[in-house]
Symmetry: C2
Subunit: 340 residues, 2 copies
């Protein structure tokens, strides 16, 4: 799903998102808590109404940004005290607060508050962290949420199989609506990541969605689906778009390259997105070189459409039991023509 940090998916309107095939977006609890404040969003009718998005919204718990963006964190059993990255003001979020904030935002899928451990981390530290995350998960379940809100637990445990098993086991016993794999894509190598995904998925119930947070490149998503993952979110389609990097079935197209100066073709032949239907690579290159705001938008529309189509294709292949063939085809196209 596309990520909308500030109650908007960068450069896109809600209508453009749905036209590009998006059916759910992610909003960052940490950012909305700090600005404009969940109280204001609630007062104005909740996040859906505030940002004019009528489809599902998933909010993260705020945990990840508290660890990655804020300063001077202090973790206790109660929760985390931190300083805002915007103005340095002091704040506290614990499991109860994380649920209260997400209740105020009114999102459809909400996430339990967890501790994100950096990588690499000592076994003892990760063990304590798993215990804390389980404790917090229990308190998240107890805290009153909106009737329509599904709550997902987040499995931690670093790169240690037995700690992943312990974390998953704790959460499954409590019973969540879905399970996320946290603490991945934090610097570990691809082999380790794939091993942890595979092992952790095996500890989770088959009838609940498994969500790999913050991943990723199309190939990462495809490999994770092969391992049993159901849901993904990532800033990559929109962030890359703003950097002029466009996804195609034959790989990435860097729009500023001079080879596109007079290129009349769309980004990808046959693509049905608004951008490919109406604009040439030459025009997109021109907008990008001229730093025009429309460049970010047109590029984002294409990349979001690429990702939603890619997920549609994966779903179809799964349904038809042809995922292996799809995967082969995917890499064959990628390795075919490197000049795009």
């Amino acid at each position: 799903m596309p990520v909308g940090t500030q109650a908007t998916v960068k450069a896109l309107s809600p209508e453009e998102l749905t036209d590009a095939g998006a059916k759910i977006i992610l909003a960052n609890t940490y950012h909305l808590y700090l600005r404009p404040g969940h109280g204001i969003v609630e007062k104005l009718g909740g996040l859906h109404r505030f940002m004019h998005w009528n489809m599902p919204i998933l909010t993260d718990s705020g945990g990840f940004q508290v660890y990655s963006l804020s300063k001077l964190r202090k973790i206790s059993e109660k929760g985390v005290t931190f300083q805002s990255h915007i103005d340095g003001s002091s704040h506290f979020i614990g499991p109860e607060e994380a649920i209260k904030i997400q209740k105020a935002l009114g999102s459809d899928i909400i996430m339990a508050f967890d501790e994100c451990v950096s990588y690499p981390a000592e076994y003892e530290y990760v063990l304590d962290s798993v215990k804390l995350t389980s404790l917090w998960a229990e308190r998240c379940l107890t805290e009153k949420r909106g009737d329509h809100q599904a709550l997902f637990g987040i499995v931690q445990g670093g790169m240690y199989t037995d700690l992943r098993e312990r974390s998953a086991g704790d959460l499954v016993r409590m019973g969540f609506d879905g399970y996320a794999l946290g603490g991945l894509s934090v610097g570990e190598d691809a082999g380790t990541r794939e091993r942890i995904i595979k092992e952790t998925v095996a500890f989770l119930p088959e009838d609940k969605p498994v969500y790999l947070m913050g991943v990723g490149r199309p190939e990462d998503i495809l490999e994770a689906v092969m391992l049993g993952v159901d849901m993904f979110d990532c800033v990559m389609p929109t962030r890359n778009a703003r950097n002029g990097t466009l996804f195609t079935s034959r790989g990435k197209l860097v729009i500023k390259n001079s080879q596109y100066v007079e290129d009349e073709r769309p980004i990808e032949e046959g693509c049905g997105c608004y951008t490919c239907t109406h604009y040439s690579r030459a025009y997109l290159r021109h907008l990008y070189m001229a730093n025009e705001l429309l460049a970010y938008r047109l590029n984002s529309i294409h990349n979001v459409h690429y990702y939603t189509s890619f997920m549609d294709d994966i779903r179809r292949a799964l349904r038809d039991d042809k995922l292996e063939e799809f995967r082969e085809e995917f890499y064959k196209k990628r390795n075919g023509d490197s000049t795009i």
Copy 2:
């Protein structure tokens, strides 16, 4: 008409422009000549196709930007040698080149190449400049343009009535499809400007459009219409939008002001634009404070809609012979509630 410097009206798509009521846009010849180059635009099917805009386009002659943006200008009877503001490269544009470039761009209304005199300027200098502008206008008329392209002459003459008369007389004798008032809004006071507009309009034929270039605020437009002007272009609706300044019938609304933090109302009650139909002032303020790209767009949609509605209202008042009442009403609303 909205101004699209770089083959795009900043932050807006063609569909948003037409939805907001725009029926014609202005593109800058100087900018498109330098980047991506008129040859490339022509090769890709002309400006309409390049930027996916199917309605009329007016191009300026490049003269104004040559004088205002470029460095090391050298003016001769042949034309102007100048250095690009982008990379310092040397270029030459004279009347023949200006028409050739606009022919390649394929716009619907094209402008004669003129000399823009700065303000204040000595009588003798302005006299020579009027002579040069008339000489260039003649050569613009002679140069082959596209069959569908209407050519407008530009009246110069500074703040001197007799030179305005001379310039207008020269151009009217040659016979253009329309006449623009150049060399205004260059630092003169409002009284002088209104005097020059009034005097110059009287020297021009009633059955041809009169175009006041680069103006302006709603009140400036209204006053100029009272004096007989038919056409305007300005960056103000979109530039102000990007600065968070929004036009309403009660005056300007500065969206970053803290009074809008929880304001559920649209920018203007009753406004039918996409922005006012779907978003609150509180949300627009949030986007603006978070530097979100969507802020520039939503603000621009409203401001362009404000201007096109304003022009619709003026046309209706003219048709019904009620311009004086319209004008009274306009200022009454403006002075009614200063808190918006």
